[in-house]
């Protein structure tokens, strides 16, 4: 097909469109996340001793860290659906934020050292369950962001899926904090990190197939 005839066809096919708005995409993702959290609370997902738990430093650390990572990475992911947006610098800042959150959590750690103690603290059976629940809770925001990405025009198919994955995973972890019976920062870094890492990997390798345009 020659360019002229293609231009004719595209012109004939022209219909008015509403330009994509960042704030609208952000509201959609925030709504998905809020509805998920509301449903979890409605079905009794949260711990019964939540009011007592809220006074624990590890609880505040988890909630602050995961909400910060989810919001920052989610915002960057939505911005990266614009073809002109460069993700590279944003990803560096996000890496720094994640590192600060992890390190600050490890400073809360006052538990005894030693390999046996560490293995006990990690409690891998519970850890695998925690990681898998985080993966499950990450699905709604992951699907929402993926659909928005498909509707948008991301041009960095390596970094944008990473941002989407980190955001969805951080939200899944944030939601899971309300039901998790563990407070040990080492356990949280390892098993929450495993769950979040899995979600990020899935997003990194699956999203480009879905969102490529």
């Amino acid at each position: 097909m020659k360019l002229d005839s293609l231009i004719d066809e595209l012109t004939e096919d022209l219909a008015p469109v509403r330009p994509r708005r960042l704030w609208m995409d952000s509201v959609i993702v925030a709504l998905i996340a809020a509805i998920e959290l509301a449903l979890l609370f409605a079905v009794g997902f949260a711990r019964l001793d939540m009011h007592r738990m809220m006074t624990q430093p590890t609880m505040s650390w988890r909630l602050a860290s995961f909400s910060l990572i989810a919001v920052v990475s989610g915002w960057l992911a939505i911005r990266s659906f614009d073809p002109t947006y460069s993700v590279r610098g944003s990803l560096r800042w996000l890496t720094l934020i994640v590192a600060i959150c992890v390190v600050s959590g490890l400073f809360l750690n006052g538990a005894p050292a030693g390999i046996v103690s560490i293995l006990d603290r990690l409690d891998w059976k519970s850890g695998v369950q925690c990681a898998s629940k985080i993966v499950a809770l990450s699905v709604p925001p992951l699907v929402g962001l993926a659909l928005l990405g498909r509707r948008g025009a991301p041009t960095d198919m390596r970094r944008t899926p990473l941002l989407v994955g980190v955001s969805a995973a951080a939200w899944g972890a944030f939601a899971f904090v309300f039901s998790c019976p563990f407070n040990d920062p080492l356990y949280i870094v390892v098993w929450y990190g495993t769950g979040c890492g899995l979600v990020t990997l899935v997003s990194r390798y699956m999203l480009p197939r879905f969102a490529r345009w």
Binding site: I7, T11, V17, R20, G152, A153, T155
Partner: protein, 176 residues
């Protein structure tokens, strides 16, 4: 790129103005041909430009009318270019039999390689003008449209570029 002019046309296109849209696509296609002629083999230029025009059409809602249109178009063109390079890299190649009779193109390939090396040492405006007019066979007028240069400037660039090429070729000859 005439950014503000294109921005206004795209804004109108987003509201359904077909005349503005046709004009925008026509002007964008010239820019795209020029963009890809510097990055892809001549046989692929039209296909790549068509692919970008289709993407512009399907993704026109992602254009933010408060921002210039040029970078948006360039980002899509670059994305499609990288996609095309990846496809070229990944495309299966058949192994040819050892005894396949074929004319020896070594000399022509070598000449093309040497010419390209010499052209890369010229100013981009001169090299592009020579490539379009002397190698691809475009008229001066077509080249001036593609390069967004006046006809006089294209002529000057070809003249100066050829003179420079001649000097470079002589120097290469002395060094060899």
């Amino acid at each position: 790129m005439a950014d503000d002019h294109w921005r206004v046309l795209m804004m109108a296109a987003q509201t359904g103005d077909a005349t503005a849209y046709r004009r925008l696509l026509t002007e964008a296609s010239s820019w795209l041909k020029s963009y890809y002629s510097r990055r892809l083999p001549p046989s692929m230029v039209d296909d790549a430009a068509q692919e970008v025009l289709l993407s512009v059409h399907t993704k026109r809602h992602t254009y933010d009318p408060t921002k210039p249109f040029g970078p948006w178009l360039a980002a899509i063109a670059r994305y499609k270019w990288i996609d095309r390079l990846r496809a070229m890299r990944d495309s299966a190649t058949e192994e040819l039999p050892e005894d396949l009779p074929a004319r020896d193109h070594a000399e022509a390939v070598q000449s093309a390689h040497v010419l390209e090396a010499l052209l890369s040492r010229l100013k981009p405006a001169q090299a592009n003008a020579i490539r379009l007019v002397k190698i691809e066979g475009l008229s001066i007028k077509e080249a001036s449209e593609r390069l967004d240069q006046t006809i006089a400037l294209v002529k000057v660039n070809i003249h100066r570029g050829l003179r420079e090429l001649s000097t470079l070729a002589q120097e290469e000859g002395h060094e060899a």
